[in-house]
Symmetry: C2
Subunit: 354 residues, 2 copies
């Protein structure tokens, strides 16, 4: 096993470049996509597909979905180097959702540079984002060719289940954003996270289990681990937004309280609306529903979250999810090194400060 | 077999409503998408998924992909009524691409009403369009449960191949739109059509062949028929745009020559650039490259297409493709009624005037 998890990053990027080379030629197109009926235009496909895709990947990203996949593969006693093309599947799916989400949210910045639709236009960005939903799925048929038919089918059926629930989660989140009147329960919020973020985690874990032919109980255990870790990660994001905002509220000219400004129903907001006295709950609701807020109003909302104990509540909830994630894989026959790495992942999602 | 093809439309819409009911409840969500980890929000999912989906479907559409699928099923000696859920697959995929294309093109109108992203916002529209890429693919696993594993795998692998090439075709088309300097050959244009439009046709035909377990040669024959018919249909679209524009150029206040205004590389344009004298070719190129054109310039470009014989050339090309499409299924053991219906399809795509 490589010394640290991040050491896998160059090999992952090489594997992605095998799937989508930076420079597109006819040979690649015919090999990967099949022979054309007439004649491909490699220049057009390079400008529409690989240039924007590599622009996004070259900006950074930790490739942690691919790395987590390789940790599972090694945990299952296989050589990760042989499964690199599969590691690209969740990674490309994830980066595809980033491009699409940025268009949906009207985001302007991604990884420190203009969002892809601002660089290439909505048409190119959306098409490459969607292409990244299907391109990696061809790996299942192509690499390695020795994967038995029943494993290929299991992989496709799992992917269809999870990619469907991803869109349910995204749909719920958007709907709650747009209609601020809706009451969202804690369980509905956790379900949104489980669908929107958790399903990509489940894909990472289940794909590793399916292609190494693990029993159903092991596949479900690692899926639960990855899903709960992803939900904890999402809650960690919500906490960070509030904590950074509380620290930054006095700083001149710095944007803060973005989630509040967007009217997002986070676990902290749901808790504060349920637990604070009626007057403060109404005030928080009013600030969330307003199209525009002053900095004072944002500070007021953040203070309500703080005073209601919503930050501690959310952190406890995330810690509990991380503990549940570890418990899910407790009975599995992983070696000590794999267990250590999987625990590292659950700690990272709670304790990171960026 | 039903009297006319259009008679299938209500049954197709009923089958779609079984997959995505107009009103979403928890029972449906648990049955179709699987049990939640926590708790679904049916109201949110209805507003994000089924409301916009049915808004688009209720505006019209001929459902001809679903109908063509049923013609094939009957031609293969099976009862179409038993395969209605499968007929929804290409239909929902097609309507999903419509929503996504409208966002990519910045379209304002769809089927006589505001495009979906103008009604529901980019976020809801894009999410439902993308959900429609995955939702119908669950049918392969769910209905009818009796479909053997090797047929399910063959269907998924075929779908991944074709949905990948769809995005290549769309990418080439967008790239040519954006970079007017590019030289596009006739074969590259036909490939773009074969990928962008033809692949959905291939899905219709191959899905019917795969799930009724036809030999590979028959699957390929009907795929070729459907692909060539779709390419002929696309060329028919290009011809109609020019013919309507020539007829409409004198009418006050009517938009005409939309393809020229958008700088689209159609088969007519490619032919005219290759066949007209250098001066007129340069003039046509300049009009296509300009960001804005006067009505006189549009009329000038249309006249160049007309005088170069590009309309006849494109029509001959479409007729040849339709003949090739019919030839592809010539040796198959279809009954006379199926042959008549399939020939009707190839005639419709050439002779329609809307």
């Amino acid at each position: 096993m490589r010394e640290t998890l991040a050491d896998w990053r160059p090999a992952i990027d090489e594997a992605i470049a095998d799937l989508v080379p930076r420079e597109i030629d006819t040979d690649y197109l015919e090999t990967f996509f099949g022979p054309p009926t007439y004649e491909y235009d490699p220049t057009g496909i390079e400008c529409a597909l690989s240039t924007p895709l590599w622009d996004l990947l070259d900006r950074g990203g930790k490739r942690w979905r691919a790395i987590l996949f390789l940790v599972f593969i090694e945990g299952f006693g296989e050589d990760p180097a042989e499964y690199l093309p599969y590691a690209c599947i969740p990674e490309l799916l994830h980066n595809g959702t980033i491009i699409v989400d940025d268009i949906e949210d009207g985001a302007t910045i991604r990884r420190g540079e203009p969002a892809l639709h601002h660089v290439y236009g909505h048409d190119i960005a959306l098409n490459v984002g969607n292409a990244m939903y299907f391109l990696p799925l061809k790996v299942i048929t192509r690499n390695p060719a020795a994967l038995p038919a029943d494993r290929r089918l299991a992989a496709y059926e799992m992917l269809m289940d999870e990619l469907n629930r991803t869109h349910l989660g995204q749909g719920m989140d958007i709907c709650w954003h747009n209609d601020h009147d809706l009451q969202v329960s804690t369980d509905e919020y956790l379900e949104m996270c489980a669908c929107k973020t958790g399903c990509l985690g489940r894909i990472v874990a289940q794909l590793a289990a399916i292609i190494t032919d693990q029993p159903a109980a092991i596949e479900e255990a690692v899926a639960t681990y990855a899903e709960l870790t992803a939900v904890a990660f999402q809650i960690g994001d919500d906490i960070l937004d509030v904590e950074h905002s509380l620290g930054r509220a006095g700083e001149f000219g710095k944007e803060f309280g973005n989630d509040i400004r967007e009217g997002k129903r986070t676990l902290l907001v749901i808790h504060a609306l349920e637990e604070s006295d009626p007057e403060r709950a109404r005030r928080l609701q009013a600030i969330l529903e307003a199209d525009e807020n002053t900095d004072d109003e944002i500070t007021e909302a953040l203070t309500i979250l703080e005073e209601t104990g919503s930050i501690e509540y959310a952190r406890d909830c995330a810690l509990e999810l991380a503990a549940d994630a570890r418990a899910a894989i407790d009975g599995l026959a992983f070696d000590a090194e794999t267990i250590r790495k999987l625990e590292e992942f659950t700690e990272f999602v709670i304790e990171r400060d960026v």
